[in-house]
Amino acid sequence: MIYFDKVSKIYADNSVALEDVSFNVEPKEFISVVGQSGAGKTTLIKMILAEELPTSGSVFFESTNVHNFRRGEINKYRRRIGTVFQDFRLLPDKTAYENIAFAMEAAGRSEEEIAADVPHVLELVDLGRKIWNFPHQLSGGEKQRVAIARAIVNQPDLIIADEPTGNLDPVNTYDVVQILKKINDLGTTVILTTHNKGVIDSLEKRVITLEHGKIIRDDKSGKYIL
């Protein structure tokens, strides 16, 4: 589904973020990318989202090079990917409902679909009661659940979660990981970056370990080893 072909990224200040990275993600797979801060995890995510251009090599999504998309196509491509970030990235002046509705509106869904799907997906992440709250009225865990609801509402092919548990307490961390697992069980590919040892060990899924921009380990059912 996603294929990295010898991707390197060197930033303008000559710092190497990724070096000769190649790997393959199968459909319906759950992959964790681990590594210390600065190992290149976030750069790797930005490559998939076509936010950054690789210095050399190419990234393919279903046999299309994602960096060859034209402007209009990038929007359509990004709608097939749901994203969840450590800092939640909700729209601050929109309610939980409107944040999720926005993603559906951007994808051109009808009012009926929005009215039906948004409460449903909020129920799914156990936030049915706080549907009209603004982000600043929600706790960290609740915000992250809104972000997950937004990521899955358009039924994407792929969910990218970039350190989604970085700002959460152990209970919320456990909940978020369980939700991601559930999404994966329902057939969506998930790419998760984290440096939480407990999360990785409990998942027992494939683990890619990055160090100084290189893949140093790729285990089918891995543990967190650094």
Partner: protein, 308 residues
């Protein structure tokens, strides 16, 4: 689908205008100042125009004829002057009328009137009062009158004198004042309008700068450029309309207060009655400027953050 999108964009613009109350208020205030500067420029222009045309009205050239000049020759001269394109109006004052005017002017001066009665004949000649469309044209008109008069009556001149040469210095000075004051007015006006447009543009840029994170989130969710930009442009449009309305409403008491003052200052123009009689034109300019400023500055300001 297109209309659904337009509806969503407009609704979203309204909602964010309302929820970002302070930012919206600040933008509306700054834009109101800008539009007021534009309105002030219109009013100052009108006052200057009215003052200058008032002064121009008072400038004229008189052609005095000798007492023996035959009326038919004067009339033929009058007609040829009238046909000149730079002449605004010509009025004929006959000898009798000139005498009446003189008596009226000196009605309290018995000595002069008695002296006048001693004379058997009317000592005053007829005259033509000429007004030009533009003060700079008096010289050529005076020259034209002289050559024409000698063509009509080649043997003896019918013209006693033309008072242009006496007024020449005053007319030239006036020309210079009119010319430079409209130039300075225009330059100053453009300068102030430019400054206030820049300030408005920067205020809106700041308002959108606050939302730069949001714009990047919208990009990541896969929203198209039009869908991201639309609500900001809608909000800019609302800043424009609201500040234009506020400006137009504020102008009502302001011109009402200053109206009598400006009239007394000798501009010959009451600001309030000018505002009321030109309400449509002024509203059109102010609302048009508001809409233009609001939409264009939001459109350009969002552009910067759409690159991700």
């Amino acid at each position: 689908m297109f209309w659904t999108k337009v509806k969503r964009v407009i609704k979203s613009g309204f909602v964010s205008f309302w929820r970002n109350g302070y930012v919206s208020l600040a933008s509306v205030l700054v834009m109101t100042v800008t539009l007021s500067v534009i309105a002030a420029l219109i009013f100052i222009g009108a006052m200057l125009q009215s003052t200058l045309s008032g002064i121009k009205e008072k400038v004229d050239v008189n052609v005095y004829f000798v007492t023996t000049a035959p009326e038919d020759q004067i009339f033929s001269l009058e007609n040829s002057i009238k046909s000149q394109p730079e002449v605004a109006s010509v009025s004929y004052i006959s000898r009798e009328q000139a005498l009446n005017n003189f008596r009226g002017k000196h009605s309290s001066d018995q000595l002069t009137l008695q002296a006048l009665d001693e004379l058997n004949d009317n000592p005053l000649g007829a005259s033509l009062n000429i007004k030009a469309k533009d003060p700079s044209q008096y010289e050529s008109i005076a020259n034209f009158v002289e050559t024409k008069a000698s063509a009509i009556s080649p043997s003896s001149s019918i013209i006693d004198k033309i008072n242009y040469s006496e007024n020449k210095a005053a007319i030239d000075a006036l020309n210079r004042i009119i010319d430079s004051s409209s130039k300075i007015g225009l330059i100053l006006g453009i300068f102030f309008v430019l400054i206030s447009i820049l300030i408005t543009f920067n205020t809106i840029r700041l308002a959108i700068y606050i939302s730069r994170e949001e714009i990047s989130v919208m990009r990541l969710v896969g929203a198209s450029n039009m869908f991201i930009r639309g609500p900001f442009v809608t909000a800019g449009l609302m800043y424009g309309i609201i500040s234009a309305l506020v400006t137009l409403i504020l102008l009502y008491p302001i011109t009402f207060g200053f109206g009598p003052l400006t009239e007394r200052l000798g501009t010959g123009l009451n600001l309030f009655s000018y505002y009321i009689s030109h309400l449509w034109q002024i509203s059109l300019v102010i609302i048009g400027a508001g809409l233009f400023l609001g939409t264009v500055s939001s459109f350009l300001a969002v552009k910067k953050y759409l690159k991700v």
